[in-house]
Amino acid sequence: MGSQKPLLEVSGVTLQYKTPNLLVTATYRVDFNVLEGDRFILLGPSGCGKSTLQKAVGGYITPTEGEMRLKGQVIRAPGPDRMMVFQEFDQLLPWKTVRQNVAFALTAARKLKGKEADERAMHYIEKVNLTKFADTYPHMLSGGMKQRVAIARGMAMEPDILLMDEPFAALDALTRRKMQDELLQLWADTRFTVLFVTHSIAEAIKIGNRILLLSPHPGRVKAEINSTTDPKDAALLEQRIQHMLFADEAKEIIDA
């Protein structure tokens, strides 16, 4: 296993952004490698820079230090080889139907044209069980359906890596569970690579096969661990992760 070349290499990445009166360091010298077919999770409390880190992989932020390589190529700008699935429901273009939304991504990125784009779009819309709603405009869909369209769009592009930024965070608990199962089913079907950001420990263990645990202010790598599918082990793992996150807080209280 160790000989497999990583798909995404992140080495020594420091990310900073400016607010009007100070320079904030979001992550400090973060390293990790994502292999092909990984369900790689970035997990941490709010303020650990996990979303910023993912936006940097997306190409929206340039690191001040270190570099990120996708298939050996340094990431410099956003591109369709790294499709993003956002948390926000307004990520679909409201002036296009479900089918047009997915097909437009393909034509805009100059991957496919006309009929081929439409066929590919319909194929992935079927995968997320939205065939009945293919000609519906996004404003008539529920939140969960919108996220499914966004996932279908991401998968239809057949990117090297799918970047999901807390895609289920704005959903209700029941829908969230269903979507997690569906995502795992989709993964079992097509074995795409996904980099998934979440702040829910349970979601991380359920979705991921490898979890990067980040500590806050600024984000540093605390651990990189394997997930498990065994329910008993999962419960133990959840406790361990919780302990790692809370150990910090306890120390802070003692320091104060």
């Binding site: 997306g58 369709p80 002036w95 405009y137 008539m140």
Partner: protein
């Protein structure tokens, strides 16, 4: 009889039976549906409600005109309507209206183009933004009609002067609205567009313009109203296009001949064209775009 205050004890509820129900097939339900009455249906139609308002206004006009009984000051609605039809039939009004509309469309089209160029520059660079902001804050409050004397010196008496002031009245309103629309496009949508690898003109055309369409449409409406007002005023006050003759000139001529019913007929035409453009053209565009996309309720 003195009452003894007793503490009210809430009794412990007895355990209640749990309830489970069989799923009911959908076709077994009796659907409760009742068609609306004809009046309710009509009243739900905004065009009908507006017709009622217009009819009420016409009635008030007619009554006031009859009470006043002075054709020189205030002709009745019926006199205005008959003057309107007479002038439509003899071809004078359609010709004058077309004369005005032609100039108007010309100015409107040039104004839109100019606004598009300005906003594109404003999106592309910071200096472009500053340029647009400075220009709009300077020229937007300046009444277009105030430029007409200058335009008459530069371009002479005729269409060119009119088009110049029209462009001035249209451009800033549209540019301002479009630019603010672009600025309020959600960050997520912009990130989605860049994720597809879109940039430059393709990004503007496929992401920014549709996303900002509600604001753009508002700008187009305001621009249209400004242009229409400016044009009639320019024709009326300066008689600029007396050669070709527009609606403003028609009103001016008839006022000089003290044919007040015709003046009202001219005004009525201006109003009618305004109503048609707003209620037919702009509303149709709205229905097929922003309402359908759920960007406006």
């Amino acid at each position: 009889m003195p009452e003894v205050a007793t503490l009210k004890v809430i009794p412990i509820t007895e355990p209640r039976p749990e309830i489970y129900r069989e799923d009911m097939p959908a076709d077994a339900m009796t659907v409760v549906e009742k068609p609306l009455s004809t009046w309710e249906l009509l009243y739900n139609w905004s065009f009908f409600r507006k017709l009622i308002i217009l009819a009420a206004l016409a009635l008030a006009w007619e009554i006031y005109g009859r009470v006043l009984n002075n054709d020189l000051l205030f002709p009745t609605f019926s006199a205005t309507v008959s003057a309107f039809f007479a002038n439509v039939m003899n071809g004078v009004l359609p010709e004058r209206a077309w004369g005005s509309l032609r100039v108007l469309l010309m100015g409107y089209a040039i104004g839109i183009t100019l606004a598009a160029v300005l906003t594109a520059l404003a999106i592309a660079s910071r200096i472009g933004t500053d340029f647009l902001e400075t220009m709009t804050s300077m020229f937007n409050p300046l009444p277009a009609i105030a430029l007409l004397p200058l335009a008459l010196i530069w371009f002479g008496l005729g269409t060119a002067s009119l088009v110049f002031v029209l462009v001035h009245s249209v451009t800033w309103a549209i540019a301002l609205n479009t630019h603010s629309g672009f600025l309020s496009v959600s960050r997520t949508l912009k990130m989605v567009g860049r994720n597809y690898g879109l940039r430059g003109p393709r990004f503007i055309a496929t992401i920014l313009i549709p996303a900002a369409f509600p604001s753009i449409l508002t700008g187009l409406k305001i621009g249209w109203a400004f242009a229409w007002r400016t044009l009639i005023a320019a024709e009326l006050v300066f008689g600029v296009s007396s050669g070709s003759g527009g609606l403003g000139w028609f009103i001016f001529e008839n006022k000089n001949m003290l044919d007040i019913a015709n003046v009202f007929a001219g005004l009525l035409t201006v109003i009618l064209i305004g109503l048609v453009v707003e209620n037919l053209i702009f509303q149709t565009i709205e229905r097929h775009t922003i309402q359908r996309w759920g960007m406006q309720a």
